[in-house]
Amino acid sequence: MNEKYINTGNKDTRSGFGAGLLEAGRKNPEIVALCADLTGSLKMDAFAAEFPERFIQCGIAEANMIGTAAGLAVSGKIPFAGSFAEFVTGRVYDQVRQVVAYSHTNVKICASHAGITLGEDGATHQTMEDTGLMRMLPNLTVINPCDYNQTMAATLAIAEYEGPVYLRFGRPSVPNFTPAGQKFEIGKALTLIEGSDVTIFATGHLVWEAIVAAEILEKEGISAELINIHTIKPLDKKAVLESAAKTGAVVTAEEHLIAGGMGELIAGLLARELPKPVEFVAVDDLFGQSGEPSELMKVYGLDAENIVKAAKKAIGRK
């Protein structure tokens, strides 16, 4: 069933962002990039090397970076401002709120090292609150692609979209399985596997885990539908409602806290329009800790095994 999702080799999503940024920069001379002393970590160095005059080093001063990006956008540039996810959300929430979201500036906030898979640096640098923070802001589009290819495609797509965007991606090498060059449609959920017993809505790094989970479920005779919610805001409500109506049971999977996450967003929609059992694969009100990304995903229950358990539980609650 899932032969079409072949891991073509592990790659980090941040490198997908870096490649996308470079290509977007070649296409459009109005694109500029800003970074707060993490150019290598964000994989922005290729862009910086090819377009030195359009790369703006901001030093370790994220608040000013967000304001500067807003000023560039107001005056007609398309700024991509990057740092670790925690430092472009929690650290600068009010700046993002006032001069990006509320001011409708065409700023692309590029958040690397999102989630617990930042790994060894520990909880000060791991954010599992960022999606919640960002999706609460009116006007802001929130995107969390699942692999290298999709992150590259998303980067190119947001370059052509007029409006503020939060683009969330990660540090570790993870399976790269979406087709290279697949067009990224903002706000359009992708059905990866069709099924009839339960729907798994997954985003980011959890999409691959959900593919593995669907395979396990299939072997046990359970038909799981898998939908990749790469755009968390605006949520593809139609896709969510149609699939939930079809399967009658829902699992959400994301590398984020339950609070504020994609799961709550979907559960809220279903509660209002089509009540169905929902199980969350996400972190429940905890900070992370140091460790290898794959270890942490296991310890915090963000893996295929837990998606399988959640699917069975959701089906049992029908």
Binding site: E53, I66, G76, Q95
Partner: protein, 281 residues
Amino acid sequence: MEQKPTLREISSQIRRDIVRMVNMAGSGHPGGSLSSTDLLTVLFFDQLNHSPKSWRRDGKGKDIFFLSAGHLSPVFYSVLARSGYFPVSELATFRKLGSRLQGHPSIERGLPGVHVASGSLGQGLSVACGAAITKMLNGEKNFIYVLMGDGESEEGQVWEAAMFAAHHKLDRIIAVTDWNGQQIDGPVSKIMNLGNLEAKWNAFGWETSVVDGHNLEAIAEAYRSAKANSGNGKPKMLLMKTEMGQDVDFMQGTHQWHGKAPNKEQTEVALKQLKETLGDF
């Protein structure tokens, strides 16, 4: 032929607008608006390269002004309206439901002259830095102005931006501090002493000057000189020494009128001290 009003006549009318707007709204910030009236009058009616009737949000080919201290909205709106950005009559809607003249400037309802929202303090200089880089990349020889409060300079982001502007040699930024020495809780020197503000900006690599912020000719000369030195690689800071509540005796020199509206009687007293020169809205 009608004679062009003098800058002094314009600033007097703007002060009347401020008092009346805040009174009509029943809230707002008259103190700092009155202290920064003269420096904004000279900028908008004498120094700024702008075209109010064909204003564009991206400021292409023109100077760009950012108000960082968003609570100075009364003076900002009056200056914009009196310059022709939007009808003067609209000043009567200040702070009312559905108005384009929000309590703090917003772009949501599309008020000409407002490039970015402000109100949460300390952010305008950063935005100005971004606009200055755009001008630099585009090869446009315009100036970027930003007005800040002295109390606002307690925000750390101001100093991030100060470092950034000097590092990137954004010498077409002309920042203005309305140095009235007051903030909501009291005198700046008592609440959070800024120390030697001039030395601080100098130390951050800025060309800094201290100006009498109520002397119209001194203000104009400060702008002229800042513009003339645009090629020297240094951003410019004009520290304008002003009085909170300038020209309304009972508001002058005190933090008490930072964010308080005068009642009907107080408004009448204030308006007696401010000559109507261009016709009230």
